[in-house]
């Protein structure tokens, strides 16, 4: 009886076996990688906006305070997107003929709101409150990145649950003195290890166990 398998059959078998194992391990890794990739999360991707507003220019170079436009960040859950009127406080005086600003002028003249592509989006079952974070020494850049260096604004973090939990588990690593909250280039100072716990106590930030309870963010 002739041999059923050629000498190369073993190699093919081993190859198939290894491919199978590789797929079993690799595909989940690949899938996990894809869902975390910037392609999916949108981190670092600046989408086209109705007009090319530059945080770098306004906030970084001109030094306009965050709260000039995002007026409710210290009081309300949402930071607030400025109405066209806010843009026109300056741009009715300067760059009044700029082509780039035509959408702003049109919006104001026609009473039609600007529609910005949303960058930072939380799932519907997550409730975030800006005011309590800002008043408790969590700075803008911790979540939004160094906006003052963004020519076109992009999403700096993916805002997955892990991201929130890192801070809720160990707020002392991220907490800042009140004057540093608006500093977009903040880096933890050298004494953060001693300053952090002190600030946590000062701000009455509730301990890690309390802040990681589900009902803090989900309801």
């Amino acid at each position: 009886m002739a041999q059923l398998f050629t000498p190369g059959a073993d190699a093919i078998y081993r190859l198939a076996l290894m491919t199978g194992v590789a797929c079993l391990v690799g595909l989940p890794v690949l899938a996990a990688g894809i869902v975390r990739s910037n392609y999916v999360t949108g981190v670092g991707v600046a989408p086209a906006q109705p007009l090319p507003f530059s945080h770098k220019h306004h906030s970084g170079e001109l030094g306009v305070d965050c709260r000039y436009c995002h007026t409710t960040v210290e009081k309300e859950a949402t930071a607030g997107i400025p109405p066209t009127h806010t843009c026109m406080t300056c741009h009715s005086q300067i760059w009044t003929g700029s082509d780039m600003l035509k959408p702003v002028r049109d919006s104001y003249a026609q009473d039609k709101p600007l529609e910005w592509k949303r960058l930072n989006k939380l799932p519907q079952y997550v409730y975030y409150n800006h005011s309590v974070h800002v008043t408790k020494g969590i700075g803008c850049s911790t979540c939004h990145g160094d906006v003052t260096s963004m020519q076109m604004t992009y999403r700096a973090n993916a805002f997955e649950m892990q991201f929130c939990l890192d801070c809720h588990r160990a707020p002392e690593k991220y907490v800042r003195t009140p004057d540093q909250v608006w500093n977009m280039n903040w880096k933890p100072p050298a004494d953060q290890a001693t300053l952090g716990p002190k600030l946590v106590a000062q701000y009455h930030i509730r301990g890690g166990a309390r802040l990681t309870e589900c009902g803090i963010c989900h309801r």
Binding site: T78, I81, H85, T86, R118, P123, Q124, G215
Partner: protein, 985 residues
């Protein structure tokens, strides 16, 4: 459930004391094996799968589940891809922040004070206005549901001419062409039909309109009018009067044929006054006893300390007996329950001269009202505990019957219907639709393109109260202002605008100016008026605008002969529906799916029959009955109602609507054909037959049946406390005491529910639905046991079958400290936080439903289908953005309104963790309750209201022996001291 148990056997069982002390339904008393199986299955729909473990089917299902499991991740995006700021930010609207406006909720033309919570310019929720002198902070179900009414997609959205879409301009042109002719003949042949008008602005406008067209006839029609009350006062005092009981000065109350706790324009204010007085009496160690006699059970008779079932025809005799006792008589002899009750009530009244209250309900006959007035006069109660004021409704209007007659004669040339629906709600004998067809020009303005709209030449959409400027009087005459909280969604006009147009103005006239015009005093300085008006607007009402108390004198007793009703046969009682009232709001799904307080039936009305009648005629629940009286017939499914008078059937209004494509179409039966014309709510000599067909009513009365003892407790005055012993060490537990180890935790949340105060009115259930985005599931789903309410009100009967006592028990999540549900969850989707809240994490939940089966209180609800999906965009506007809209396949339950707790906690956190003040967190159910039965707060703070309630000796935990340590606890209802040999429930 199925069939009907042997009623004679049940009666025997209950009277022998063999049955349960508290029972929820006849099936529960019968306790048949089928019923036990039904309860054990918990969800009848799931039992089919569980009962047949078939291998092939199981494998097929599992394969499909795995294959399709990933698809759920492929849903459409959330649609929040753009941020759209304002162009010019309005001054007070901060995106994402609540803004509250004081306004009034309308009830059949009467008003109650409310605060409308809006967000981003959308009204989301109605709260009571605690400063309003009449309603004092509570609301009723209609007020709670009115916010759904605003976004109702069934609302009329366009002007229609002969059933085709038209425009306001076309209507204006058409009418303005005819108006000169009207003016010329002084309005001859013009008829105006409105609902009850209490609004001073509308009243002034109608007066002006009548001045412009002196021959115009104004008629008022209401689905459930108060004409009987006013007619009774006319017979007693010679003029129509509203009677307001001052419960705080009373020592005993006698209610004939219900009403003061029942749904109605006075429910909120009266319930509050009643419970305040009852609480004050209890604090003094007394019981403000309520004696109630009723032919059909009502919420008022359900709260009676001494109740009796009396046929409607005997109520007058009973009142005469009481009158005799007030004059020193000894009362009726005999040992039947009615005689015993009469002697008890009469003695109590005679012992409290000048401090008693006798009231008769909305549906009592004018004769009975007149008798009650004379009785109160004889007892010296009039002017002491019973105050009379002029009716809030504007007098001087004709009735619906007069209008129908005029139409029949052909004298009506143009009929203008403003905010009424006579084609549906007029009594059948008036044959309104056919007579209306004889009118050459018919104009209908209403919220809905309803039956009357379909019969009219012109239909005009009117603005919802939440879109309108206006004013309205409460039952005591207090003038509340109505202010818009959103621009009209469908270009509707307000009633003042419509009247201004008819008087020769513009229909788009500034509605605010019309209201202001009514209130500006002659020659008043503009700035002073604006200040006065703004202040009234801020408060929601004109201060001290209640009607002054009138001094009354009884007229000579011109004993009008009672109308000779046919003797014998079945007596038919017509009642407004306890959730829909007269059917004006029948398209509101919240009201349709709200279990009726006593039957717990949803999505339809039933024909209530007494157990004895059912026994005699062989009627089972669900048998379709045909009731014929005066040549007209109504057919509806039977419901055997304990506490119903023997040969009496009760029909309710509000159903049997027939507007194409509307939600309400085809639900229930229309009782209209049998309705007597005029102020009467009953007819005798009817015949009842079984049609042989069956239509099982869908009810929630078995849902959430708990296994255990002492679910409802009753504290007889002077008896040993029935509450749980205080100060006893907590029973041993395997688990560490929760919440005690974290020094940061400021509050431990808990709730106390006073069963003595709960009247079963359902306001809390609807408020919870509005606040927490609770979906409506529909009749078929409810029949499968999938009703979604987070808060249910259990109704228990106690005592004998034919005249039981009734108890209500609201059951939200107990937030057990040792929660059984948490042990069952494989993914920790339900767990505790350090403030004692039993959390439900929707995004973790995988839908095993184990928690539900572990929950001894049966308060968890599962989203079997995507109930919240597929809502129209306009309905989605109502959703509370602070609460997750739950997806298919997740469990949900009461959260103690965690969104409100969070808001208070964040405020306190920003304020250096100042303690959250007691009362800063008010749950939705608590806020809506007219009797303040629900107290919520921090149980760790001994000074809080809820801690005080928990110290009450009446306080007890539901199923406390399970050692679940519920945070929601109850205060036992009160009962009079047990009489020797008397039965106490």
């Amino acid at each position: 459930m199925t069939g009907t148990p042997d009623l004679a056997a049940l009666r025997e069982k209950l009277s022998q004391g063999d049955g349960p002390r508290f029972w929820r339904s006849l099936d529960a008393v019968a306790d048949s094996p089928e019923f036990r199986d039904y309860l054990a299955a918990e969800f009848p729909s799931a039992s089919r799968l569980a009962a047949a473990p078939e291998r092939r089917g199981f494998l097929k299902l599992m394969a499909a589940s795995f294959a399709l499991g990933g698809l759920t991740a492929c849903g459409a995006g959330s649609g929040r891809d753009y941020e759209v700021p304002y162009v010019n930010q309005p001054e007070r609207i901060v995106p994402g922040t609540d803004l509250s406006y004081a306004s009034s909720a309308l009830f059949d033309g009467f008003g109650n004070g409310v605060l409308v919570t809006t967000r981003n310019g959308r009204p989301l929720k109605i709260e009571g206005n605690p400063d309003h002198p009449w309603s004092r902070g509570g609301t009723d179900v209609l007020a709670q549901a009115s916010v759904l009414g605003l976004y109702d997609p069934f609302r009329s959205q366009a002007v229609q001419h002969l059933g085709r879409p038209s425009s306001w301009a076309a209507f204006r042109a058409d009418l303005q062409a005819q108006m000169p002719a009207w003016r010329e003949n002084r309005g001859e042949g013009l008829a105006l039909l409105t609902g009850p008008v209490t609004s001073p602005t509308l009243a002034a406008q109608i007066a002006r309109l009548r001045a412009a067209y002196p021959a115009l006839r104004w008629h008022v029609g209401a689905g459930a009018s108060r004409d009987g009350l006013y007619e009774g006062a006319r017979r007693a005092y010679g003029r129509p009067l509203e009677t307001l009981p001052a419960f705080d000065r009373a020592r005993t109350i006698v209610a004939l044929d219900g009403d003061f706790l029942d749904l109605g324009p006075g429910q909120v204010g009266l319930s509050r006054r009643w419970i305040d007085a009852r609480r004050a009496a209890y604090a003094d160690g007394r019981l403000l006893t309520l004696h109630a006699a009723a032919p059909t059970p009502t919420l008022t008779s359900a709260k009676a300390d001494h109740g009796v079932v009396v046929p409607a025809g005997r109520l007058d005799d009973l009142a005469r007996d009481l009158l005799g006792m007030a004059g020193g008589g000894t009362g009726p002899g005999g040992d039947d329950p009615v005689a015993r009750w009469t002697r008890g009530a009469g003695t109590a009244l005679a012992g409290a001269r000048g401090a008693g209250i006798v009231t008769a309900g909305l549906t009592a006959s004018p004769d009975l009202h007149a008798l009650v007035h004379r009785l109160n006069g004889a007892l010296g109660n009039t002017g002491a505990t019973l105050l009379h004021v002029e009716p809030a409704a504007e007098p001087g209007a004709g009735t619906l019957a007069e209008l129908a007659e005029a139409m029949e004669r052909g004298t009506v040339k143009a009929l203008i219907v403003l905010g009424a629906n006579p084609v549906y709600d007029a009594p059948g004998a008036l044959d309104f639709a056919a007579r209306m067809a004889r009118v050459p020009l018919k104009i209908h303005a209403g919220l809905y393109y309803d039956e009357t709209g379909a019969h009219a030449d012109w239909h005009l959409p009117i603005a919802h109260p939440l879109e309108s400027w206006g004013d309205v009087r409460a039952l005591d005459g207090t003038v509340g202002l109505i202010q818009p909280t959103i621009a009209p969604l469908y270009n509707g006009r307000t009633l003042p605008q419509m009247l201004a147009f008819l008087a020769g103005g513009d229909e788009a006239e500034d509605a605010l100016a019309l209201v202001k015009a009514r209130w500006r005093r002659d020659g008043e300085d503009e700035a002073a008026f604006e200040a006065r008006f703004s202040e009234a607007l801020r408060r929601g009402f004109w201060a001290d605008s209640a009607r002054p108390v009138e001094t009354v004198a009884l007229t000579q007793d011109a004993a009008s002969p009672a109308p000779a009703l046919p003797v014998g046969g079945i007596e038919v009682l017509i009642r407004p529906d306890p959730t829909l009232w007269d059917g004006t709001h029948a398209d509101l799904a919240w009201l349709q799916e709200l279990p009726k307080p006593l039957t717990k039936v949803v999505w339809e009305n039933v024909v209530a029959v007494s157990p004895r009648l059912a026994e005699r005629e062989g009627i089972a629940t669900g048998d379709v009955l045909r009731i014929v009286a005066a040549g007209r017939a109504v057919e509806g499914p039977a419901w055997i109602l304990p506490g119903q008078a023997d040969d009496t059937v009760t029909l309710t209004l509000g159903y049997g609507r027939n507007v194409p494509d509307h939600l309400s179409r085809g639900l229930g039966y229309d009782a209209g054909p049998l309705r007597p014309v005029g102020a009467s709510w009953r007819l005798s000599g009817a015949t009842l037959t079984r049609t042989g067909r069956r239509s099982q009513p869908v009810t929630t009365q078995h849902l959430g049946t708990m296994e255990g003892e002492d679910l409802v407790r009753v504290q007889a005055l002077g008896a040993a406390p029935v509450g749980d012993p205080k100060g006893a060490p907590a029973p041993a537990s395997f688990y560490p005491p929760p919440g005690s180890q974290d020094r940061w935790v400021a509050a431990q949340w808990g709730m106390a529910i006073d069963l003595d105060a709960c009247t079963g009115c359902n306001a809390c259930v609807t408020a919870c639905q509005a606040e927490n985005n609770i979906p409506v599931v529909g009749r078929e789903e409810v029949a499968l046991g999938r009703w979604m309410g987070w808060l249910r009100i259990d109704r228990y009967y106690a005592g004998e079958l034919d005249a039981p006592r009734t108890h209500f028990q609201p059951v939200p999540c107990m937030h057990c400290e040792q929660a059984p549900c948490e042990l069952g969850c494989p993914v920790e989707a339900t767990l505790h936080d350090s403030e004692g809240l039993n959390l439900q994490v929707y995004n973790r939940c995988v839908g095993t439903r184990t928690c539900q089966s572990y929950c001894p209180y049966k308060v968890r609800r599962f989203n079997y289908l995507d109930y919240s999906g597929g809502m129209t965009p306009v309905e989605q506007q109502q959703r509370n953005p602070e609460v997750t809209v739950r997806a298919r396949g997740v469990m949900e339950k009461c959260t103690y309104c965690i969104q409100r707790i969070t808001a208070a906690r964040i405020t306190s956190a920003k304020d250096a963790h100042a303690p959250i003040p007691d009362g800063a967190v008010e749950t939705a159910c608590q806020g809506a309750c007219p009797t303040r039965a629900i107290t919520f707060g921090n149980v760790a703070d001994p000074g809080s209201h809820v801690s005080a309630a928990r110290r009450d000796p009446r306080e007890y935990a539901l199923l406390g022996h399970l050692n679940t340590r519920p945070r929601t606890t109850y205060l036992a209802g009160l009962a009079p001291p047990a009489e020797p040999g008397g039965r106490e429930g």
